[in-house]
């Protein structure tokens, strides 16, 4: 099921542009056709539990993009020096070092988010996308391409994470970016302390159409993330019937 996309190495003799067609494809494909979550089914483990709010999800997505990109770059740089038998350990050490950097940085600059993400930061190490891209791409390709491929896959992962988080937070809490400096209150009953864009307590106007609205508690449960991803997969495969697997 976890089909990895083995992009064949293009052998071009003349000097290539730094950011040509191949790089663009590497960067954009993971957003749709080879998306790490919905198509390759990698990396679901570490992060679904953080998607109940958008802000920690964005932080998580940035962390994964960073780790994915740079671990691909470093692995690709040393790829010819790694003995085949111990390559897993070498890859894990590279990833673990980068994740430690992320963890310490967060601990220093944003302690509340560090507390909130707790063990899930450490779990980026065993995030299958990072390891999967190292095995499938970085071990066989030049550093720059590997770096772009890692970034692309990290972004493809982050996009799904943020889509899920946006849906869960709007319907589950009625807010966006809660806990961050740019919190937006979308829907709910306004009172003296908080005002919402759609005020369900309003006597008249647009907000009054939503009188009696309550937040959907299902969306706060971890299970909601599974439903949303299931539906995202459904939508994507309805548009691309070739992606359907029969098992």
């Amino acid at each position: 099921m976890a089909e990895t996309t083995a992009t064949p190495e293009v052998t071009v003799k003349e000097k290539e542009p730094l950011f040509g067609k191949a790089e663009k494809k590497l960067l954009l494909d993971p957003l749709g056709d080879t998306n790490p979550i919905t198509i390759q089914v990698l990396g679901i483990c570490s992060a679904l539990a953080v998607t109940s709010l958008v802000y920690p999800s964005v932080v998580m997505a940035i962390a994964v993009v960073f780790v994915c990109g740079f671990s691909s770059l470093f692995t690709s740089l040393v790829r010819n020096k790694i003995p085949k038998q111990v390559r897993m350990i070498v890859q894990l050490v590279i990833i673990a070092t980068l994740v430690t950097i992320v963890e310490l940085t967060l601990k220093r600059f944003n302690y509340p988010i560090y507390k909130q993400l707790s063990v899930y930061i450490g779990l980026i190490i065993t995030n299958c996308i990072v390891m999967g891209r190292l095995e499938a791409y970085a071990m066989a390709n030049r550093p720059w391409r590997a770096f772009v491929d890692g970034l692309g896959n990290g972004v493809g992962y982050g996009v799904i994470l943020i889509i899920v988080a946006v849906i869960r937070e709007i319907f589950g809490k009625g807010t966006l970016f809660a806990g961050s400096p740019i919190q937006i209150n979308i829907i709910g009953a306004s009172n003296n302390e908080v005002g919402y864009l759609i005020n369900t307590a309003a006597e008249s106007g647009f907000g009054s159409l939503f009188a009696g609205y309550t937040n959907n508690n299902l969306m706060v449960l971890p299970a909601a993330a599974m439903f949303i991803i299931g539906v995202l997969i459904w939508i994507q495969r309805s548009y691309r019937p070739t992606l359907v697997d029969v098992s």
Binding site: I44, A96, T126, G230, R237, V244, V246
Partner: protein, 203 residues
């Protein structure tokens, strides 16, 4: 009895797969038939049960301020934990191959997969975060492994049956597996109200 409570809590109430989504990749990839799911589940129980106490010893004796080196080395935690897990998996693989070739052939392919199973590393990190003692960490490891085992057997059995159902084509396979996992998660939430301490106190 305290240990039994931790076991029950880790296996049912705070199931690693259904409450924390750990070990999702192999959970989804290896749950197509019950037999393979059974093998992987057993291997996970085994590895969790072994790595958890070892990682406890490492974090208490080597990394903590009261440890051998007398300084706070917690920043090395990730690297050491993952190294322990990788080498333990390797060791288990070699031992199983030597002792029971039959079990090795049935488990063989799944053992290396376990290194990158988030449930193993996640278990160790939870253990540190919750400050378990040595024996508690063993109970937590075995309980967590058992919970993972139950979850993968359940989803594999459901997926074997659902092949005969009329699922919309685009939802077949993966999409359905996600939704099923969500439903199972909700079902397991009904166990949340159970207080293991109250159960054992009555006896």
């Amino acid at each position: 009895m305290e240990l039994f409570n931790i076991f029950i809590k880790a296996a049912f109430i705070e199931n690693l797969v259904l409450a924390y989504f750990l070990g999702m990749c192999s959970y989804l990839a290896v749950s197509k038939t019950v037999t393979t799911a059974f093998g992987l589940g057993l291997a996970v129980i085994f590895v969790l049960g072994i790595t958890m106490p070892i990682n406890w010893l490492i974090s208490e004796l080597l990394l903590s301020e009261n440890g051998i080196f007398g300084m706070d080395l917690t920043f090395l935690r990730f690297i050491l934990f993952i190294a322990v897990i990788a080498s333990m998996v390797q060791l288990v693989e070699m031992i199983v191959e030597k002792v029971s070739p039959a079990l090795y052939t049935s488990l063989g392919i799944f053992l290396p997969l376990i290194t990158v199973n988030c449930a193993i590393l996640g278990g160790s990190l939870f253990m540190v975060a919750r400050e378990y003692s040595f024996t508690e960490s063993i109970a937590f490891g075995l309980g967590g492994g058992f919970g993972w085992f139950l979850a993968i057997i359940a989803i594999a059995a459901i997926r074997e049956k659902i092949r005969y159902s009329n699922v919309p084509p685009a939802l077949r396979g993966l999409g359905m597996a996600f939704i099923l996992t969500g439903l199972m998660g909700i079902a397991f939430m009904s166990l949340m109200g159970i207080d293991p301490a109250a159960l054992t106190a009555g006896k």
